[in-house]
Amino acid sequence: MYRQKHLFLLPGLLVLVAIIIFPLLFTIRVSFSSWDVFQPGLDWIAGANYGRLLEDARYWGALGRLMIMAVGTVLIQYTLGFALALLVWGDLKARRFFRVLFLVPMMTTPVIMSVIWRTVFHESIGPLNGLLQALGLQGVPWLSEPALAFASVMMVEIWQWTPFMFLLLLAGLVSLPREPYLAARIDGAGPIRTFFAVTFPAMAGISIAAILIRLIEASKIMESVYVMTSGGPGTATETSTYYIYIRGLRDFQLGYASALSVTYLVIMIISLTIIAKVLVRLFVKDRT
């Protein structure tokens, strides 16, 4: 009966391994070489690149910024996505129209929308400051003041990916059983108590999945930074992937960039695993 089980798993697994194994091993190998724009090829310099990255303040700064940005945007996306899902879950005029509309940003190409956003944020001829000025307010230095540039990038990420949370959470809401709500009403619970007693616990599983997936995707944040700020002003919006990109493809220090990448991967896998465990424990406790 179970003899055929490998027929299911193996094709996919083998294809993925076949595609991924060489690039992965190769990256690890390159990280021990001094491959650079003036020195193409694989020599052996042992751990020199890793020694160098330990002292690379820009790399660790970028990693810190990435953590803040990823966790920050995902939490905001989750909160907003949940709120929006609740809004269009119940009775609403033109409910289906809004459901479609709220999904749309996720469907658009990040790199292309970032280009549009860059013109939106343009401080002298862009529409955002145009609106503010029409209201008699001061223009805002969206992309040229460090904290605001950071916030602007986050805003674009939130615009792009809140729909993802919205979709998963709404699908979850739609499938919730009716009975607990009837019971809550009989108990005389208000909407807020009902939410925390019934809805939220029932949504725990899907919430964990949505948050984790978004964290994984958010940690790769790249296009918005690449297009809108190039990591500036100063290094205010430089995240790990962008920094690796600068070192690897702009500077063409392939050896060093590979060491950065390998370190990055290890850090990411470890921290995401920990986050997953913590989330599960928190939500599981909530449920009991």
Binding site: M1, Y2, Q4, K5, L7, F8, L9, P11, G12, L13, L16, I19, I20, P23, F26, T27, L84, L87, V88, R96, F98, R99, L101, F102, L103, V104, P105, M106, M107, T108, V111, I112, M113, V115, I116, T119, S124, I125, P127, L128, G130, L131, W159, L167, A171, V174, S175, I206, I213, I216, K220, M222, E223, V227, T241, Y245, G248, L249, Y264, L272
Partner: protein
């Protein structure tokens, strides 16, 4: 109390809707501008505030000052479509296996294999750009659609597996068991009994594959030369030191159009509650 609540609700919906629509509206009006219209500041209304022109749209189809996107459009459709299809076939099979059977190899269990699939998403494209370049070069697949499809499978397969494993875990095992009692092999069970009941899952998996495939930029950017440009690459080629905002806006609008249609499809299933099992 009730009216206040309703007012807040509609206000919130209105606010978020304008936030969502803002860049699109801006792109629409910008696509009809010329250099003077752009430097004239944040204007919205044609004729009244600026002199509209079709230059931006004409440039998409061979006019001057833009890039012809018909070729890249077809390439994007072919690559995204094929890679999504292959990923879904392989991913659904693997997910079914992982959901129904127990695999053991040393310390590795089902959960670890699932994690291995999903963990592929952690790698930023930038890390793999050069190795993939060398890999495709070795295979003679650089700058070909086949090469890109191969890379995109690695990108999309994890998504398909993630969605489908969750989905199958929610499909009652009794279905399988009844089929087995009728004498079906696991394979026939899968495609006679399970697949017909998996449409919602396949829709979600397909949607995510299409989204992430269509919207990828860096792989398409690094692994092609001149023959097989994809859409995002062709459009970003307009965004350099001197940006023609008008052609850029026009091409951005036209490139996001097909997936917006997808939003309607997804919503249909969503409203019918059909996606319920697919995302839990």
């Amino acid at each position: 109390m009730k009216t206040v609540y309703l007012a807040i609700k509609y206000l919130a919906i209105l606010l978020w809707s304008s936030f969502v629509l803002f860049p699109f509206l801006w792109a629409v009006t910008t696509s009809f501008k010329t250099a003077n219209g752009v430097t004239g500041g944040a204007t919205w209304i044609p004729w009244l505030q600026y002199e509209p022109s079709l230059q931006g749209w004409q440039s998409l189809f061979g006019g001057s000052g833009g890039t012809d996107i018909t070729g890249p459009y077809f390439n994007s459709i072919i690559v995204t479509g094929s890679a999504s299809l292959i990923s879904i076939v392989l991913g659904t099979l693997a997910a079914y296996g992982l959901s129904r059977f127990t695999f053991k190899a040393g310390f590795i269990r089902n959960a670890d294999i699932t994690f291995f699939f999903i963990s592929q998403r952690i790698m930023p494209p930038i890390v793999l750009a050069i190795p993939f370049f060398l890999l495709l070069r070795q295979l003679g697949l650089l700058d070909t659609l086949a090469g890109l499809i191969l890379v995109y499978i690695a990108l999309l397969l994890p998504i398909a597996v993630w969605v489908m494993v969750d989905f199958f875990n929610n499909v009652p095992r009794q279905l399988d068991e009844m089929a087995w009692l009728d004498g079906c092999t696991p394979m026939t069970t899968f495609y006679r009994v399970i697949l017909p009941n998996s449409v919602p899952g396949l829709i979600v998996a397909g949607m995510f594959c299409l989204i992430f495939g269509w919207n990828d930029f860096f792989f398409a950017f690094t692994l092609t030369f001149t023959d097989t440009q994809l859409l995002p690459v062709a459009i970003v080629a307009l965004n350099s030191s001197v940006t023609p905002w008008w052609s850029l806006s026009a091409s951005a609008l036209i490139s996001v159009a097909p997936l917006i249609l997808l939003a309607f499809v997804v919503e249909r299933f969503l409203s019918r509650g059909g996606l319920a099992g697919a995302v839990r």
